[in-house]
Assembly symmetry: C2
Homo-oligomer: 205 residues x 2
Protein backbone atom coordinates (compact mmCIF):
# COMPACT_ATOMS: atom_id res chain seq x y z
CA UNK A 1 0.00 0.00 0.00
CA UNK A 2 1.43 3.43 -0.92
CA UNK A 3 2.18 5.64 2.01
CA UNK A 4 -0.10 8.61 2.48
CA UNK A 5 2.02 11.77 2.21
CA UNK A 6 2.69 13.34 5.56
CA UNK A 7 0.42 16.31 6.13
CA UNK A 8 1.90 18.82 8.60
CA UNK A 9 -1.60 20.00 9.45
CA UNK A 10 -2.55 16.48 10.46
CA UNK A 11 0.68 15.80 12.33
CA UNK A 12 0.20 18.91 14.44
CA UNK A 13 -3.48 19.73 14.29
CA UNK A 14 -4.29 23.36 15.11
CA UNK A 15 -7.58 25.04 15.62
CA UNK A 16 -8.54 27.31 12.80
CA UNK A 17 -7.04 27.75 9.34
CA UNK A 18 -5.21 25.00 7.46
CA UNK A 19 -6.37 22.01 9.45
CA UNK A 20 -7.68 19.12 7.37
CA UNK A 21 -11.20 17.99 8.21
CA UNK A 22 -11.19 15.31 10.91
CA UNK A 23 -13.20 12.91 8.74
CA UNK A 24 -10.51 13.09 6.08
CA UNK A 25 -7.74 12.43 8.57
CA UNK A 26 -9.66 9.51 10.09
CA UNK A 27 -10.23 8.05 6.63
CA UNK A 28 -6.47 8.28 5.92
CA UNK A 29 -5.65 6.47 9.13
CA UNK A 30 -8.22 3.75 8.54
CA UNK A 31 -6.97 3.27 4.97
CA UNK A 32 -3.39 2.94 6.20
CA UNK A 33 -4.38 0.46 8.89
CA UNK A 34 -6.58 -1.57 6.54
CA UNK A 35 -3.74 -1.81 4.02
CA UNK A 36 -1.27 -3.09 6.62
CA UNK A 37 -3.78 -5.61 7.99
CA UNK A 38 -4.75 -7.10 4.63
CA UNK A 39 -1.14 -7.35 3.48
CA UNK A 40 0.63 -8.37 6.67
CA UNK A 41 -1.85 -9.05 9.42
CA UNK A 42 -1.74 -7.82 12.98
CA UNK A 43 1.82 -8.67 14.03
CA UNK A 44 3.64 -5.43 13.14
CA UNK A 45 0.75 -3.03 13.63
CA UNK A 46 1.79 -0.34 16.15
CA UNK A 47 0.74 3.23 16.84
CA UNK A 48 4.28 4.32 15.88
CA UNK A 49 4.06 2.75 12.46
CA UNK A 50 0.52 3.95 11.78
CA UNK A 51 1.50 7.51 12.77
CA UNK A 52 4.50 7.36 10.43
CA UNK A 53 2.63 5.89 7.48
CA UNK A 54 -0.55 7.93 7.80
CA UNK A 55 1.14 11.19 8.77
CA UNK A 56 -1.10 11.61 11.79
CA UNK A 57 0.35 12.26 15.24
CA UNK A 58 0.28 9.51 17.85
CA UNK A 59 -1.57 11.92 20.17
CA UNK A 60 -4.38 12.15 17.63
CA UNK A 61 -4.45 8.37 17.19
CA UNK A 62 -4.69 7.82 20.95
CA UNK A 63 -7.46 10.40 21.15
CA UNK A 64 -9.61 8.59 18.61
CA UNK A 65 -8.70 4.97 19.26
CA UNK A 66 -7.89 3.84 22.81
CA UNK A 67 -5.83 0.83 21.72
CA UNK A 68 -4.19 -0.57 18.63
CA UNK A 69 -6.68 -3.46 18.75
CA UNK A 70 -9.64 -1.10 18.51
CA UNK A 71 -7.96 0.78 15.67
CA UNK A 72 -7.27 -2.52 13.90
CA UNK A 73 -10.94 -3.48 14.12
CA UNK A 74 -12.07 -0.11 12.82
CA UNK A 75 -9.53 -0.19 9.99
CA UNK A 76 -10.38 -3.75 9.07
CA UNK A 77 -14.12 -3.09 8.96
CA UNK A 78 -13.59 -0.23 6.52
CA UNK A 79 -10.99 -2.12 4.49
CA UNK A 80 -13.32 -5.01 3.73
CA UNK A 81 -16.54 -3.04 3.43
CA UNK A 82 -16.44 -2.97 -0.37
CA UNK A 83 -15.06 -6.50 -0.86
CA UNK A 84 -17.73 -7.89 1.47
CA UNK A 85 -20.65 -5.78 0.26
CA UNK A 86 -24.00 -7.56 -0.07
CA UNK A 87 -25.10 -7.20 -3.68
CA UNK A 88 -28.80 -6.99 -4.49
CA UNK A 89 -29.54 -8.15 -8.01
CA UNK A 90 -32.95 -9.38 -6.92
CA UNK A 91 -31.78 -13.03 -6.81
CA UNK A 92 -30.92 -14.00 -3.23
CA UNK A 93 -29.28 -17.31 -4.18
CA UNK A 94 -26.97 -15.64 -6.70
CA UNK A 95 -26.22 -12.75 -4.36
CA UNK A 96 -25.40 -14.98 -1.39
CA UNK A 97 -23.13 -17.03 -3.65
CA UNK A 98 -21.29 -13.94 -4.84
CA UNK A 99 -20.86 -12.57 -1.33
CA UNK A 100 -19.90 -15.86 0.31
CA UNK A 101 -17.30 -16.54 -2.39
CA UNK A 102 -15.79 -13.09 -1.75
CA UNK A 103 -15.84 -13.70 1.99
CA UNK A 104 -14.20 -17.13 1.68
CA UNK A 105 -11.60 -15.79 -0.73
CA UNK A 106 -10.73 -12.95 1.64
CA UNK A 107 -10.52 -15.33 4.60
CA UNK A 108 -8.31 -17.86 2.84
CA UNK A 109 -6.06 -15.80 0.55
CA UNK A 110 -5.27 -12.74 2.71
CA UNK A 111 -4.22 -12.36 6.36
CA UNK A 112 -7.87 -11.50 7.13
CA UNK A 113 -8.78 -15.04 8.15
CA UNK A 114 -5.93 -15.29 10.59
CA UNK A 115 -6.55 -11.76 11.84
CA UNK A 116 -10.20 -12.42 12.64
CA UNK A 117 -9.41 -15.82 14.16
CA UNK A 118 -6.86 -14.24 16.46
CA UNK A 119 -9.17 -11.38 17.43
CA UNK A 120 -12.00 -13.81 18.19
CA UNK A 121 -9.53 -16.05 20.04
CA UNK A 122 -8.09 -13.23 22.12
CA UNK A 123 -11.56 -11.90 22.87
CA UNK A 124 -12.33 -15.11 24.77
CA UNK A 125 -10.06 -13.94 27.58
CA UNK A 126 -10.15 -10.15 26.98
CA UNK A 127 -13.59 -8.74 27.78
CA UNK A 128 -12.78 -5.26 26.46
CA UNK A 129 -11.64 -6.64 23.13
CA UNK A 130 -14.76 -8.85 22.98
CA UNK A 131 -16.96 -5.80 23.49
CA UNK A 132 -15.08 -3.78 20.86
CA UNK A 133 -15.09 -6.68 18.41
CA UNK A 134 -18.86 -6.86 18.59
CA UNK A 135 -19.30 -3.09 18.55
CA UNK A 136 -16.87 -2.31 15.72
CA UNK A 137 -17.13 -5.43 13.61
CA UNK A 138 -19.40 -8.40 14.10
CA UNK A 139 -22.69 -6.72 14.96
CA UNK A 140 -22.30 -4.26 12.08
CA UNK A 141 -21.55 -7.12 9.67
CA UNK A 142 -24.59 -9.00 11.00
CA UNK A 143 -26.79 -5.99 10.34
CA UNK A 144 -25.60 -5.69 6.75
CA UNK A 145 -26.27 -9.39 6.11
CA UNK A 146 -29.65 -9.22 7.82
CA UNK A 147 -30.72 -6.23 5.72
CA UNK A 148 -30.08 -8.18 2.48
CA UNK A 149 -31.88 -11.25 3.85
CA UNK A 150 -34.89 -9.17 4.91
CA UNK A 151 -35.07 -7.69 1.42
CA UNK A 152 -35.26 -11.28 0.15
CA UNK A 153 -38.10 -11.92 2.59
CA UNK A 154 -39.90 -8.82 1.30
CA UNK A 155 -39.36 -10.11 -2.25
CA UNK A 156 -40.94 -13.46 -1.30
CA UNK A 157 -37.73 -15.46 -1.74
CA UNK A 158 -37.20 -16.39 1.91
CA UNK A 159 -40.03 -17.60 4.13
CA UNK A 160 -41.41 -14.73 6.23
CA UNK A 161 -41.32 -16.67 9.53
CA UNK A 162 -37.56 -17.31 9.36
CA UNK A 163 -35.32 -15.38 11.79
CA UNK A 164 -32.67 -13.98 9.46
CA UNK A 165 -30.13 -13.79 12.30
CA UNK A 166 -30.16 -17.60 12.44
CA UNK A 167 -29.30 -17.69 8.73
CA UNK A 168 -26.27 -15.50 9.48
CA UNK A 169 -24.96 -18.18 11.87
CA UNK A 170 -25.67 -20.96 9.36
CA UNK A 171 -23.74 -19.26 6.54
CA UNK A 172 -20.98 -16.96 7.81
CA UNK A 173 -20.93 -18.52 11.29
CA UNK A 174 -20.39 -21.94 9.72
CA UNK A 175 -17.39 -20.55 7.82
CA UNK A 176 -15.96 -19.05 11.03
CA UNK A 177 -16.37 -22.45 12.67
CA UNK A 178 -14.06 -24.05 10.08
CA UNK A 179 -11.62 -21.13 10.27
CA UNK A 180 -11.34 -21.45 14.04
CA UNK A 181 -11.28 -25.25 14.21
CA UNK A 182 -9.97 -26.39 10.83
CA UNK A 183 -11.13 -30.01 10.85
CA UNK A 184 -12.55 -29.47 7.37
CA UNK A 185 -11.45 -27.10 4.58
CA UNK A 186 -12.89 -23.68 3.76
CA UNK A 187 -13.49 -23.63 0.01
CA UNK A 188 -15.86 -22.04 -2.49
CA UNK A 189 -17.57 -25.45 -2.77
CA UNK A 190 -18.17 -25.36 0.98
CA UNK A 191 -19.85 -21.97 0.53
CA UNK A 192 -22.04 -23.38 -2.23
CA UNK A 193 -23.01 -26.34 -0.04
CA UNK A 194 -23.91 -24.02 2.86
CA UNK A 195 -26.24 -22.01 0.62
CA UNK A 196 -27.75 -25.06 -1.08
CA UNK A 197 -28.42 -26.86 2.21
CA UNK A 198 -29.99 -23.82 3.79
CA UNK A 199 -32.15 -22.58 0.91
CA UNK A 200 -33.35 -25.99 -0.25
CA UNK A 201 -33.25 -27.92 3.03
CA UNK A 202 -31.48 -31.22 3.55
CA UNK A 203 -34.53 -33.35 4.35
CA UNK A 204 -35.65 -35.76 1.66
CA UNK A 205 -38.92 -34.54 0.28
Amino acid sequence: MPETPVSPEAVAPRRGRGRRPADEVRADVLRTVGGILLQEGLADLTFERIARESGVSKATLYKWWPSVGVLALDGYFHAVEDALAFPDTGDIRADLTTQLHHFIELMTTTPAGRLLSELIGQSQIDQDLATEYRRLYSSARRQLAAARLRAAQDAGQIRPNVDVQVIVDQLWGAVYNRLLVPDEPVTAAFGDALIGNLLDGVASS
Copy 2:
Protein backbone atom coordinates in the same frame (compact mmCIF):
# COMPACT_ATOMS: atom_id res chain seq x y z
CA MET B 1 -17.49 -34.78 42.93
CA PRO B 2 -16.42 -37.49 45.41
CA GLU B 3 -12.71 -38.08 45.51
CA THR B 4 -11.51 -41.40 44.21
CA PRO B 5 -9.80 -43.27 47.08
CA VAL B 6 -6.06 -43.21 46.78
CA SER B 7 -4.76 -46.49 45.44
CA PRO B 8 -1.14 -47.15 46.45
CA GLU B 9 -0.73 -49.40 43.45
CA ALA B 10 -1.69 -46.53 41.16
CA VAL B 11 0.38 -43.98 43.04
CA ALA B 12 3.48 -46.12 42.65
CA PRO B 13 2.81 -48.45 39.76
CA ARG B 14 4.90 -51.62 39.85
CA ARG B 15 5.23 -54.40 37.35
CA GLY B 16 3.51 -57.58 38.45
CA ARG B 17 1.05 -58.33 41.26
CA GLY B 18 -1.29 -55.83 42.79
CA ARG B 19 -1.15 -53.15 40.11
CA ARG B 20 -4.53 -51.89 38.93
CA PRO B 21 -5.11 -52.20 35.19
CA ALA B 22 -3.95 -49.06 33.36
CA ASP B 23 -7.38 -48.62 31.74
CA GLU B 24 -8.98 -48.43 35.15
CA VAL B 25 -6.47 -45.87 36.39
CA ARG B 26 -6.89 -43.78 33.23
CA ALA B 27 -10.67 -43.87 33.65
CA ASP B 28 -10.31 -42.66 37.25
CA VAL B 29 -8.15 -39.75 36.17
CA LEU B 30 -10.48 -38.77 33.32
CA ARG B 31 -13.48 -38.95 35.65
CA THR B 32 -11.73 -36.71 38.17
CA VAL B 33 -10.73 -34.20 35.50
CA GLY B 34 -14.17 -34.19 33.89
CA GLY B 35 -15.82 -33.55 37.24
CA ILE B 36 -13.57 -30.58 37.98
CA LEU B 37 -14.08 -29.12 34.50
CA LEU B 38 -17.87 -29.34 34.50
CA GLN B 39 -18.16 -27.90 38.01
CA GLU B 40 -15.44 -25.26 38.00
CA GLY B 41 -13.92 -24.92 34.55
CA LEU B 42 -10.26 -24.81 33.67
CA ALA B 43 -8.91 -22.19 36.07
CA ASP B 44 -7.83 -24.40 38.99
CA LEU B 45 -6.99 -27.53 37.05
CA THR B 46 -3.39 -28.54 37.81
CA PHE B 47 -1.46 -31.80 37.72
CA GLU B 48 -0.99 -31.48 41.51
CA ARG B 49 -4.69 -31.32 42.16
CA ILE B 50 -5.56 -34.10 39.72
CA ALA B 51 -2.91 -36.34 41.27
CA ARG B 52 -4.28 -35.64 44.74
CA GLU B 53 -7.95 -36.15 43.83
CA SER B 54 -7.50 -39.15 41.56
CA GLY B 55 -4.82 -40.87 43.66
CA VAL B 56 -2.54 -41.25 40.66
CA SER B 57 1.06 -40.08 40.76
CA LYS B 58 2.11 -36.98 38.86
CA ALA B 59 4.76 -39.10 37.10
CA THR B 60 2.01 -41.30 35.69
CA LEU B 61 -0.06 -38.30 34.65
CA TYR B 62 2.92 -36.76 32.82
CA LYS B 63 3.60 -40.08 31.11
CA TRP B 64 0.08 -40.29 29.68
CA TRP B 65 -0.74 -36.65 29.12
CA PRO B 66 2.04 -34.22 28.11
CA SER B 67 0.22 -31.13 29.40
CA VAL B 68 -2.70 -30.22 31.58
CA GLY B 69 -4.46 -28.82 28.48
CA VAL B 70 -4.30 -32.18 26.74
CA LEU B 71 -5.54 -33.93 29.88
CA ALA B 72 -8.37 -31.40 30.14
CA LEU B 73 -9.45 -32.14 26.57
CA ASP B 74 -9.35 -35.88 27.13
CA GLY B 75 -11.25 -35.58 30.42
CA TYR B 76 -13.82 -33.25 28.93
CA PHE B 77 -14.49 -35.49 25.93
CA HIS B 78 -15.21 -38.43 28.23
CA ALA B 79 -17.21 -36.32 30.70
CA VAL B 80 -19.69 -35.16 28.06
CA GLU B 81 -19.80 -38.34 26.00
CA ASP B 82 -23.05 -39.55 27.58
CA ALA B 83 -24.72 -36.12 27.86
CA LEU B 84 -23.91 -35.40 24.21
CA ALA B 85 -24.69 -38.85 22.80
CA PHE B 86 -26.52 -38.92 19.47
CA PRO B 87 -29.76 -40.84 20.01
CA ASP B 88 -31.19 -42.92 17.19
CA THR B 89 -34.95 -43.38 17.55
CA GLY B 90 -35.29 -43.50 13.77
CA ASP B 91 -36.56 -39.89 13.59
CA ILE B 92 -33.68 -37.56 12.67
CA ARG B 93 -35.61 -34.36 13.43
CA ALA B 94 -36.54 -35.52 16.92
CA ASP B 95 -33.05 -36.89 17.57
CA LEU B 96 -31.27 -33.72 16.44
CA THR B 97 -33.62 -31.70 18.63
CA THR B 98 -32.87 -33.87 21.67
CA GLN B 99 -29.12 -33.72 21.11
CA LEU B 100 -28.93 -30.02 20.29
CA HIS B 101 -31.00 -29.15 23.37
CA HIS B 102 -28.58 -31.17 25.51
CA PHE B 103 -25.60 -29.52 23.83
CA ILE B 104 -27.00 -26.01 24.30
CA GLU B 105 -27.92 -26.73 27.92
CA LEU B 106 -24.40 -28.00 28.63
CA MET B 107 -22.84 -24.97 26.93
CA THR B 108 -24.99 -22.42 28.74
CA THR B 109 -25.56 -23.87 32.22
CA THR B 110 -22.17 -25.42 33.03
CA PRO B 111 -18.58 -24.14 32.65
CA ALA B 112 -18.36 -26.23 29.46
CA GLY B 113 -19.24 -23.34 27.14
CA ARG B 114 -16.59 -21.11 28.61
CA LEU B 115 -14.07 -23.97 28.69
CA LEU B 116 -14.51 -24.77 25.00
CA SER B 117 -14.52 -21.08 24.04
CA GLU B 118 -11.24 -20.57 25.87
CA LEU B 119 -9.67 -23.69 24.38
CA ILE B 120 -10.72 -22.66 20.87
CA GLY B 121 -9.54 -19.12 21.59
CA GLN B 122 -6.16 -20.19 22.93
CA SER B 123 -5.70 -22.62 20.04
CA GLN B 124 -5.64 -19.64 17.63
CA ILE B 125 -2.17 -18.78 18.90
CA ASP B 126 -1.04 -22.18 20.23
CA GLN B 127 -0.52 -24.63 17.38
CA ASP B 128 0.06 -27.62 19.69
CA LEU B 129 -3.19 -26.99 21.52
CA ALA B 130 -4.99 -26.55 18.18
CA THR B 131 -3.72 -29.94 17.03
CA GLU B 132 -4.68 -31.62 20.28
CA TYR B 133 -8.09 -29.95 20.32
CA ARG B 134 -8.87 -31.40 16.94
CA ARG B 135 -7.33 -34.79 17.75
CA LEU B 136 -8.90 -35.25 21.18
CA TYR B 137 -12.16 -33.40 20.81
CA SER B 138 -13.57 -31.75 17.72
CA SER B 139 -12.81 -34.35 15.06
CA ALA B 140 -14.13 -37.14 17.27
CA ARG B 141 -17.32 -35.17 17.97
CA ARG B 142 -17.69 -34.52 14.23
CA GLN B 143 -17.43 -38.22 13.51
CA LEU B 144 -20.14 -39.06 16.03
CA ALA B 145 -22.49 -36.46 14.54
CA ALA B 146 -21.70 -37.56 10.99
CA ALA B 147 -22.44 -41.20 11.82
CA ARG B 148 -25.95 -40.30 13.02
CA LEU B 149 -26.53 -38.08 9.97
CA ARG B 150 -25.37 -40.82 7.59
CA ALA B 151 -27.79 -43.25 9.26
CA ALA B 152 -30.52 -40.71 8.46
CA GLN B 153 -29.34 -40.67 4.85
CA ASP B 154 -29.49 -44.48 4.76
CA ALA B 155 -33.01 -44.27 6.20
CA GLY B 156 -34.04 -41.88 3.41
CA GLN B 157 -34.58 -38.89 5.75
CA ILE B 158 -31.70 -36.73 4.50
CA ARG B 159 -30.95 -36.25 0.81
CA PRO B 160 -28.17 -38.62 -0.29
CA ASN B 161 -26.16 -35.93 -2.10
CA VAL B 162 -25.73 -33.77 1.03
CA ASP B 163 -22.26 -33.65 2.62
CA VAL B 164 -23.07 -34.38 6.26
CA GLN B 165 -19.94 -32.53 7.42
CA VAL B 166 -21.50 -29.30 6.15
CA ILE B 167 -24.56 -30.00 8.30
CA VAL B 168 -22.25 -30.27 11.31
CA ASP B 169 -21.08 -26.69 10.70
CA GLN B 170 -24.64 -25.45 10.19
CA LEU B 171 -25.90 -26.91 13.47
CA TRP B 172 -23.15 -27.22 16.10
CA GLY B 173 -20.81 -24.81 14.31
CA ALA B 174 -23.56 -22.18 14.32
CA VAL B 175 -23.91 -22.61 18.09
CA TYR B 176 -20.15 -22.24 18.56
CA ASN B 177 -20.32 -19.05 16.50
CA ARG B 178 -22.74 -17.49 19.01
CA LEU B 179 -20.75 -18.81 21.96
CA LEU B 180 -17.54 -17.25 20.66
CA VAL B 181 -19.07 -13.97 19.46
CA PRO B 182 -22.20 -13.46 21.54
CA ASP B 183 -24.04 -10.94 19.40
CA GLU B 184 -27.14 -13.10 19.68
CA PRO B 185 -28.28 -15.49 22.44
CA VAL B 186 -27.79 -19.27 22.58
CA THR B 187 -31.18 -20.75 23.53
CA ALA B 188 -33.18 -23.91 22.95
CA ALA B 189 -35.31 -21.90 20.50
CA PHE B 190 -32.15 -21.05 18.56
CA GLY B 191 -31.41 -24.79 18.33
CA ASP B 192 -34.94 -25.45 17.06
CA ALA B 193 -34.56 -22.69 14.45
CA LEU B 194 -31.23 -24.14 13.27
CA ILE B 195 -32.82 -27.55 12.75
CA GLY B 196 -35.98 -26.20 11.13
CA ASN B 197 -34.07 -23.94 8.73
CA LEU B 198 -31.73 -26.70 7.70
CA LEU B 199 -34.15 -29.61 7.33
CA ASP B 200 -36.95 -27.64 5.67
CA GLY B 201 -34.93 -24.95 3.89
CA VAL B 202 -35.54 -21.22 4.20
CA ALA B 203 -36.48 -20.53 0.57
CA SER B 204 -40.13 -19.83 -0.12
CA SER B 205 -41.54 -22.77 -2.02
